[in-house]
């Protein structure tokens, strides 16, 4: 399970950096969020959806990595 904790911490840091970027941009440079990386869809919307989808993706990645790193070998691991 220690390996799971390490995987979890790495993925946690990845998400934390993305979340901190979102909060930081909104707080200290909100005009950046008005840019439109896709026609008529601003960065605030893209980044917000991106964070939700990233959470879903990272949780699935974590589940898969834990499966291959330990769960598959049975409870003794």
């Amino acid at each position: 399970m220690a390996r799971n904790a390490k995987i979890g911490l790495v993925l946690f840091v990845v998400y934390l950096l993305c979340y901190a970027g979102f909060v930081g941009l909104n707080a200290f440079s909100p005009q950046v969020m008005a840019q439109t990386p896709y026609p008529q869809i601003n960065l605030a919307t893209v980044y917000g959806f991106g964070l939700i989808l990233l959470a879903l993706l990272l949780s699935l990645v974590y589940g898969v990595l834990c499966f291959f790193c330990g769960d598959r070998q049975g409870p003794a691991s």
Binding site: M1, N4, A5, G8, L9, L11, F12, Y15, L16, Y19, F22, V23, G24, N26, A27, F28, P30, M33, A34, Y38, P39, Q40, I41, N42, A44, T45, G48, F49, L51, I52, L53, A55, L56, L58, S59, L60, Y62, G63, C66, D71, P75
Partner: protein, 645 residues
Amino acid sequence: MIYEPSWIAVIIFLIFVAATMGLSFYLGSRSRSSQGYFAAHGQIPWFINGIAFAGDYLSAASFLGICGMIAFYGYDGFLYSIGYLAGWIVALFVVAEPMKRLGKFTFADALDSRFQSRGIKLTVGISTLAVSLFYLIPQMVGAGALVQPLLGLSHWQGVALVGATVIFIVVSAGMVSTTYVQFLKGGLLVLFSLVLTVMILNRGLIVQQGGIDGHQFRTLGPVSDEQLAKPDWTEQFFFKSSLEDVDLAWSERGYYRIHDSLNNEITTWRLEPLPDGQYLLREAQTVTRTPDGTVLVNGQPKGVRKGEPELHPVGYLSSLSNGKTRTGPLNPISYLQEIYGAEVVQWPSESIVEADGSRTTFYYPKVTPGSRLLMPGNHPTFKGIHSNHLSDRINFVSLMLALFCGTASLPHILIRYYTVKDEVSARKSTIVGIGAIGFFYILTLYLGLGAMVSGALDVTDTNMAAPLLAKSMNEWLFAMISAIAFTTVLGTVSGLILASSGAITHDLLMSTFRLKLNDFEQVRIAKFASVLIGAIAIVLGIVFEKLNVTYLVGWAFSVAASANLPALVMMLFWKGTTKQGVIAAVTVGMVSSLAWILLSEDTFKSVYGLDPSLAIVPFSQPGIVTIPLGFLTLIVVSLMTRSRE
């Protein structure tokens, strides 16, 4: 608006209540032991537990509050969706598996697993009760606000009905029935939110001048100061009309009341300045409460039945991009693009107190570009990000930090890790929970924007945006969404009561006061505690009727994150943590966050009714100070007491 009880809604609501109570009664036989009552014997399948996480977590604040905030203020409500979901990352990657490994019944079990300390049990038990009670108040207030218009009950009756139902669910079968109620509610909430979103996209967007009752809000002018100075200026718009006598405060804010004798109609108008120095007159709405308690709508006594004076529903687009008047069905991306290019008519409000003591609230139309509504910073809570004061921006960061850290510190969420058989199931159920909750939060943006342009918004009640959006589609959907919203409250409140009764029974009575209880007595005491907490929740729900729901949820998250997270994280990742360090961190985190909230600008304004400039702390959200303070306290106290241990 006048809400007439919908019989379909009442019947579906009664079916929901009967089903949840029947389920609780049926499952009652499975939870006679304390392990069954508090943790469902650890036998809940991981998928069911995952959806139950969603049912537990997606409270009235998530469903009604976020949809309402997006409907009235745009993107700002979505910030809560993002923050609430981000908290689950902490739960999955940091907390889930250790919680299952270390604990048995309560959150304190996990924190105390290394120390066997009465002090930890006492402190964490109190913190669990404090957080749960803070979280219970908005749920009960929300329940009263919801039942009132749907079933025609008064606020206290609604709160008492919810309280009684929840007490029955919790007392009959504890965690087993609570889990299945939350599972059903979580599944139905996500499913019907998806149905509603598909209908919103299929309906597309339409340019209108008013809401679904058919009333067209008019715009007159432009007019100049010279024209307005003439005593009979109203007659250039209404053939036989005159200005009504109103309080001086009205004209100071640019409001007029016109009596149209030809149609015998009284209307309220607001001057909107134009860049060339002239004005537009926009039709507004008013609610006046006179000192004797009479409520006037647009100057006439408020009606009680349809057809009598009431506020008109609002929420519509005044223009679409490229001069279109309707779009037809849209996909999820083109829907956002069309909103971005459209102009939305918002209905902000302002209040005045007149010379005779009457209080009049004006609701007036304000045309706002969709591109602005899809940016943060429109809601009063988030306006600070456009301010020049650093403290306003720090306040925003602090709130987002509390949302991030709060989820994994909520006791009623954490005890759900004890209901599955092992750590793998705990992880899998969290992943399922993140999937369901994340999907729901994506839908909230569409539900909120759909409500914003549904023509069904009640300007006086943001919490009713989602049910009224459903009503604008059809009566059956309204009935289902309302019943689900009600079950939303049941699911969350039952989880909170269970967490509190566990804290009283195990952390306070058995561990702190060393009461020897056998299995049967534990369950019996827990049931008594549930009734007690339920009764307290009912009283608080009635007493705090007027307090803002979202505001109180913010309190609960800040206190939970400050009191619980530092101790939990450090206990898991730092071997130097001592029991004194844990006790000090929980105490300092809880007390400092509570004190900060009570001394903040928001509380001075909204709770005490005092001048916010008198507030002692520099910004309202405590998390950015009190969460690090909890960590610092734990490290310092642990280092000081390390040798002794």
